[in-house]
Amino acid sequence: MLRVLLVGIFLAAAPSLPSPALAVQPDEILKDPALEKRARVISRDLRCLVCQNQSIDDSDAPLAKDLRVLVRDRLKKGETNTQVVDFVVSRYGEFVLLKPRFALHTLILWLAAPLIFFIGVFVMFRSYRRRAVEAKESGSKSLSAKEKRDLSKLLKES
């Protein structure tokens, strides 16, 4: 959606701008509110194929409308959410999913952040251990009697 901004500001290519307007039309809405709710949930995760990063729920492109109607038709036939999504994917490919499935080719996508987190924890832990050991070896000398006296004097003054 801020793609609009991108195109406008940075490429100055006005013709490809989507015009913001209504997406879901009143006549598309199913009579059964529970079914309609499920349709909305499904549409939010399906990409409008001709748009940039817009779900079919947000887009006013004709293709998005077709997909919304398709989703609702399948739901009316009594299919589960998974069956509907599977059908759309079988027809349009994985590109249609805004949240890619966990598979071999999306391994890095899904695992990168957790991996970085655990590497971070590991590095922190190791550097903590190493420095704790170093500190022990270099000997954290306790203060001499005179130093202790000076310290308490300083603390009293402040």
């Binding site: 901004l5 015009s19 913001p20 039309q25 996508l109 987190f117």
Partner: protein, 661 residues
């Protein structure tokens, strides 16, 4: 003529930037003070020259000088004055000119306010700044020159994209760039420190105000973009995890982490290596953001390949600076000796956790934004990564971060007491519980997690207030002592608390509007009424109207509540003439409880219109939260310790310590 002056100034600025790059760094190597001092004058000269260039282009826009190709492509004589001016940076060439202007502004500010810096550090910092200028000025002059003439000059320009003709959006890019480019200072300081091989708490104290200023501008810039998307695009959404948004969000995350790690470095001389790395990363991510949006690589890998000159150039700049800095880091980081030790449960430990979570979140955004591009380039397979992915990966990282946030300031340095901190947070915990119960009672429906989210927001807010209260000994000491303590608390403590409150307020807004937004899509004929969230909206038909450079169809809605008329909302559909574009203007009634948001859709048969109503509860808290965060930064910046030169204080303290031994 004016355009030629601007053009000439731009080329001169490149020459001055070259001088600024070479002489100060060379001088610092030889210990030649005169050569080092050239940096300051060069930085001022560069700013003056770029101002001339920028003003030259602005005059061309204001006077609609259609002999400049850039003006022809992006302006129109009938455009309102505000958008003639904002049109200067509403396009590729002009916005790059703004980029280098802001870079020069920051450079000259370092030259001006950095009088307390050791001369060799200052020279190196200005030298590195200069080298960034050289790269971008070369880029502008060779591939994106805004002063290119066109012959014969047309009588009229093509106009600025109407969707960008908006007050909030006019100032969105300058703020965003102030943020992006502001991180260049932290970057230059990091590289300079690596060159000299010296780095100490004073370094962190110099870097922090610059980072803080950049962070504040970026916060406001992102917030403005989000606000614009909310009311202009007509979807009622405020954040879309669009790659362009992500491009600005990643430097913000890295900058936020940097602010916190620099704090540890300043106070405890620890986390040096990490802080330097973050300073490099924050600006590298800014460069990457610039690359992503400028090169067209986001629209598709193919559009990048069609016109690669600009994209490859920025890519080269990015690789040069990021790669160069990282290589320098790899070879020099070993020299940076680590300072103070700390236990895992301590203020330092809390800030490390903050850094770990924010950095991981940043990585999640990074991978999600770039992975589809990388996959397509490598295997040709196309996948989409959209909001559901980011919500699933980014969201879970924020929950522990927000839970831990109030603990940080309550833990002491070196070794903290988590039980004691919990006890001191009981008031915050009490209010959190209260907020959760109230949220359950008021909402009645909606996702069961939502009240817990409200509790989380309250926890962060009350945690920040408790911290100030604890430090002032509120309710534990006589009132006059509490007041005295409140007065004597450093401004930076207030700043941090206020910024944290801003985060909490934003969380409240995000949770409420995400969980309890209500929506209604109906076909309405004139005279019919719809109701949403306690409001009654009577549709009184559509009236045509004429604006300065557009014509519009204005829907008339009489809004009433409990039978009493509250206001009229006038959502419209506009058709701009140059360039011909349709836009939607939502009708919004803002209130403390939430926004009533009306969008007029297409005409249906028999005189009816499709209309979409939203009620977005507490949605304004999102942007109010960002303003509070900005104010927190401002309060912190006004702290004496940051204004007064750090080295003086450090020397004074050193002088005090010596005789005591």
């Amino acid at each position: 003529m004016i355009a030629e002056v601007g053009h000439f100034a731009l080329i001169l600025a490149l020459g001055v930037a070259l001088v600024q790059t070479v002489l100060p760094i060379w001088g610092a190597q030889r210990g030649d003070l005169a050569m080092m001092n050239v940096g300051s004058s060069a930085a001022q000269g560069q700013l003056a020259l770029l101002l001339v260039a920028f003003i030259g282009l602005t005059i061309a826009y204001v006077t609609s000088d259609f002999s400049l190709q850039n003006v022809v492509q992006n302006s129109h004589s009938a455009k309102p004055m505000l958008y003639k001016i904002s049109g200067v940076w509403g396009n590729h060439e002009g916005s790059m000119l703004l980029w280098v202007l802001i870079l020069a502004l920051f450079g000259s500010a370092v030259a001006l306010f950095g009088r307390n810096l050791p001369p060799d550090l200052k020279a190196n910092v200005l030298g590195v700044q200069g080298s960034i200028s050289v790269a971008f000025l070369t880029f502008i002059i060779t591939t994106s020159n805004p002063f290119t003439r066109i012959h014969p000059a047309p009588f009229e320009g093509q106009g600025l994209n109407p969707i960008l003709q908006d007050p909030a959006l006019s100032f969105h890019p300058p703020f965003l760039y102030m943020g992006y480019v502001g991180f260049s200072i932290a970057f230059s300081f990091a590289v300079a420190a690596l060159i000299t091989g010296r780095i100490d708490p004073a370094w962190a104290r110099w870097v922090r105000p610059w980072t803080l200023a950049a962070w504040m501008f970026l916060t406001i810039g992102i917030s403005m973009g989000s606000w614009w998307a909310y009311y202009e695009l007509g979807w009622g959404g405020w954040w879309f995890w669009d790659p362009v948004e992500n491009a600005s969000f990643m430097p913000w995350l890295a900058g936020t982490a940097l602010l916190h790690s620099a704090l540890v470095m300043e106070k405890r001389d620890a986390l040096k290596v990490w802080t330097v790395l973050l300073a490099i990363l924050a600006f590298s991510l800014s460069l990457m953001g610039t690359f992503l949006v400028r090169s067209g690589v986001l629209t598709s890998v193919h559009s990048f390949a069609v016109d690669p000159a600009r994209g490859v150039f920025i890519l080269a700049i990015m690789v040069l600076f990021t790669g160069g800095a990282l290589a320098l880091f790899a070879s020099r980081a070993g020299l940076l000796r680590q300072g103070g030790l700390f236990a895992p449960v301590s203020r330092e430990g809390a800030l490390v956790l903050n850094n770990l979570l924010i950095t991981t979140a940043c990585a999640a955004v990074f991978v999600g934004t770039l992975y589809p591009l990388a996959l397509e380039a490598v295997t040709g397979a196309k996948i989409s990564v959209g909001p559901p992915f980011f919500n699933a990966t980014f969201g879970p990282l924020m929950i522990p971060l927000l839970i831990a946030m109030p603990y940080g300031p309550f833990l002491s340095w070196k070794r903290g007491d988590i039980l004691g901190a919990s006890q001191r947070l009981w008031v915050a915990a009490f209010f959190t519980l209260l907020a959760i119960i109230a949220a359950y009672a008021v909402s009645g429906s909606g996702p069961w997690l939502a009240p817990l989210g409200i509790g989380l927001g309250m926890w962060v807010i009350m945690g920040a207030i408790s911290e100030v209260g604890f430090r002032a000994k509120a309710f534990r000491a006589p009132l006059d002592e509490v007041l005295r303590r409140l007065r004597n608390l450093p401004r930076s403590a207030y700043g941090a608390a206020v910024a944290h409150i801003g985060i909490g307020v934003m969380v409240l807004g995000i949770v409420a509007t995400t969980a309890w937004q209500s929506e209604k899509i109906v076909a309405l004929s004139p005279g019919q009424t719809a109701s949403i969230a306690g409001y009654e909206l009577k549709f009184a038909g559509v009236v045509p109207a004429q604006g300065p450079n557009y014509s519009e169809q204005v829907g008339q809605f009489v809004v009433s509540r409990g039978g009493k008329e509250v206001t009229r909302l006038l959502p419209s559909k506009r058709l701009y003439s140059a360039p011909e574009t349709a836009t939607t203007e939502a009708g919004i009634l803002g209130a403390w409880t939430g926004d009533l948001y009306v969008v007029l859709g297409d005409a249906l048969k028999d005189g009816a219109f499709s209309v979409r109503f939203y009620f977005n509860p507490l949605v304004r808290l999102i942007w109010i939260g960002t303003i509070i965060m900005f104010l927190g930064g401002l309060i912190s910046l006004s702290d004496r310790r940051l204004r007064v030169g750090a080295p003086k204080r450090a020397r004074v303290r050193a002088a005090q310590v010596v005789p005591a031994e």
